[in-house]
Symmetry: D2
Subunit: 258 residues, 4 copies
């Protein structure tokens, strides 16, 4: 069966890649896009553009809605989609707990799948999940994340998420030497529940993270390099295929890949 897909936010950086990915995948059919304005020339007339999700669903009957728009719209989109039997695949975070609960209830009521994934990169999700699994046996952990020097905040969201996941799996304790001393402030990085996080920023870098887990006489290193945006597309393809088999809300790719 060919899966009919609609894309909300087709003009953004992620949206453009998603449109290209769906167009070249034989198992998927791009039936329509949702945009905030209608520009005739967008896909040379071949893909209809809508500004109303209701209208889009009514006229083009997608199985799946890929939503790559801004956080302000996604909750409403998700509810409308689920109401109409369309499965949402959402790449935005920023839902309130209440909104998540509403989406969860609606998916269960309609008995169809819905995926919310803060990170569509399968490799990054595997790195995070493996770190959590390994920390149970090798609880001494340091995280080094490396990004281009145009990134403003440090540490990265992925590094913090990784530390949170690891923290669920290990007892909390202060790592390093009891009398550890920083000759220069900050040398030992950020301290997250006793774990240390280091942020490297250099021109040329894209998005990289390594998790180091040390034990007596050994070191386990889990590293993910994201060289460009296409690394997210395999996760979107996986989500579209997987959501057809699900009948409830899935939060995070880790719940469907491991």
């Amino acid at each position: 069966m060919v899966i009919k897909v609609a894309v909300a936010g087709p003009r953004g950086r992620m949206g453009k890649e998603a449109v290209a990915t769906i167009l070249k995948n034989e198992d998927f059919l791009l039936v329509s896009v949702l945009d905030h304005k209608k520009e005739e020339e967008f896909f040379g007339d071949s893909i209809p553009i809508f500004t109303s999700l209701q209208e889009l669903i009514f006229q083009t009957e997608p199985h799946v809605l890929i939503d790559l728009t801004v956080p302000e719209c996604v909750y409403e989109h998700a509810i409308i989609a689920l109401e109409n039997g369309v499965r949402p695949v959402i790449g935005t975070t920023g839902f309130t707990d209440l909104q998540l609960e509403e989406i969860r209830k609606k998916a269960e009521e309609k008995e169809i799948g819905c995926i919310i994934a803060p990170n569509f990169s399968i490799g990054a999700v595997l790195m995070m999940k493996f770190s959590q699994m390994a920390a149970k046996y090798l609880p001494n952990v340091e995280i080094i994340e490396m990004h281009h020097d145009q990134k403003v905040d440090a540490p990265s969201g992925t590094a913090i998420k990784t530390a949170q996941m690891i923290n669920e799996a290990r007892m909390t304790f202060e790592q390093g030497h009891e009398h550890e001393e920083e000759i220069m402030d900050g040398a030992r990085g950020a301290n997250f529940s006793g774990m240390h996080i280091h942020s490297v920023r250099l021109p040329g870098l894209v998005a990289h993270q390594q998790v180091l887990l040390g034990g007596e006489g050994q070191l386990l290193t889990l590293r993910h390099d994201s060289f460009n945006r296409t690394s997210f597309m395999s996760g979107i393809v996986l989500s579209i295929n997987e959501i057809m088999k699900q009948n409830k809300l899935i939060y995070g790719l880790e719940d469907i890949i491991l």
Copy 2:
């Protein structure tokens, strides 16, 4: 409860480390060792030395027998131990299928645990297992193993085992470019069911392996460094604790750690 432990092969390189590890662990009590000869001065009389396993069990009643002797003896040791209600933790490979089957039956009959672990390094086992899990989603894999230049054979046993485990998780296919050409023989390494394995040998190196899994726009790297023999000890400690809760044969640490 303190676990009473006996060690077979206490004079070998692994055996010495095992003895030291058990002596300094408060949860364990080293009650005796099994050796091929009796040397009075060995542990200054404090730990009795036996040359017969039957005798050792009869007189010192260990819960667990750590067996680090040569392959020729371990099968017999395992059967005797199980017969007498002692749980074997075995760090040797080289059992025949028939022997494994006998051990499995004996453990089930007696309803006690028995662990056979080709590799006691928890980090190495995690690397192998994670590689297998990840290959399902990122099936393009290359393995680079690196050892000191006194190692004769290439690739290493761990690299081959890793490739076998990965192969169970992914469909077999030839990686690389369809018209790939080696300008110099061997450049692309060894070919294991389409996967490539590379063996680096240099003075200074100890034992290291990385598994590289590539996908569109991304790379996942799982790396294990073994800096010295003590890396095996955490796996032995884990096995002693775990075997007390088991009632059958466990083959490979991966079955108890993941």
Copy 3:
């Protein structure tokens, strides 16, 4: 002084980047381009296009000619440029020894600089040069080069060039164990004068190389990652600046950067 630059081959992948790089650099002025055909709309009239190098030089008087065309043209371009007092910066290999000799003589006769650089990536050139310097003290070397899986040949040209440079600095000897044995063919990689070269090919990768130099108890690793084509541009900028100070043929960036 602003350096006046002309670009030959402005429509190729490298050429486009070079044009963009020169346009945004305040120290340079792009005065003209040499192309095989004249398309009016190319730079919106602002940059004149020529199909004859003589004409280009006569009318726009560049100080420097960046030549990113095919090997068939570059020799002739270089001679014409030098004859007319224009300094060539050439990013192509494939000259015959005779042609190189002619270019060398012409540059000396005219007392102006000429740069031929097989690799404009400063980082890659540093990696190669440092490898050569280090091999004098740490002569046990292995090279691992890693590229995307659409690359046909293995090892890469850079890996072979690196091995050649290292070979000039160390005595030749067979590395590894005297009785080394490949259980699987190719495991130990390609053998270049006793050094081993390993080629990894995976989707997602771009162009990466690491040179490992082992010694007693230690390992020195020199690694270069090229994430995209812009890595070549810093070498072109450096070459333009440097060529103004030179009065002879320079072959390879290593001669001006170290």
Copy 4:
């Protein structure tokens, strides 16, 4: 010619390795050792032990004195050795400027070599020197040093030395984004003249450092792994051979290896 060598401080960790290294090297002859007390059984009578350096030189006439004693003694040792025509190879830091000046003058007066090396690991010295050379072209630098978790101070002395050397080669500037923001304190590491230094501490690690130099589209990584103390011995061997050819004070191995 066989070089006659004496070792001061033969019982310390470095001293023991040095003695073993000299004994197994055919080009060297260990003629005596200097210790604070005389124990007959030390080398089974074969190597004479002295408690006075004057006496040692007078009776055993070494060409070279390897000094691995504490900072309090080395200055006096060096002066006595030089006075008597013996070349000192010193692996201690902590000289005052005045002392260094005196040693320099004495070596020049006597026209013999003297080597003071804060770090005898050739690989580490190469890493530092290459970092300095590369920073001229790739001035965006971050340093990650990694040690076992029993190390008290951070960053390591080698990391600080590396940063100082790099700083001599590049203009000082603040790296990273202009509006960079640490969500968690210390994430960006220690700031050394705009460069960032990160210190990782984990059980299992020995002594490792990587210097990352980023440029547009590329990354150059210079990494040194010290797996055990023997990594220092190649530098001592090199120093003994080299000092015979020198006629002045050499400070740091970099002056003789590059």
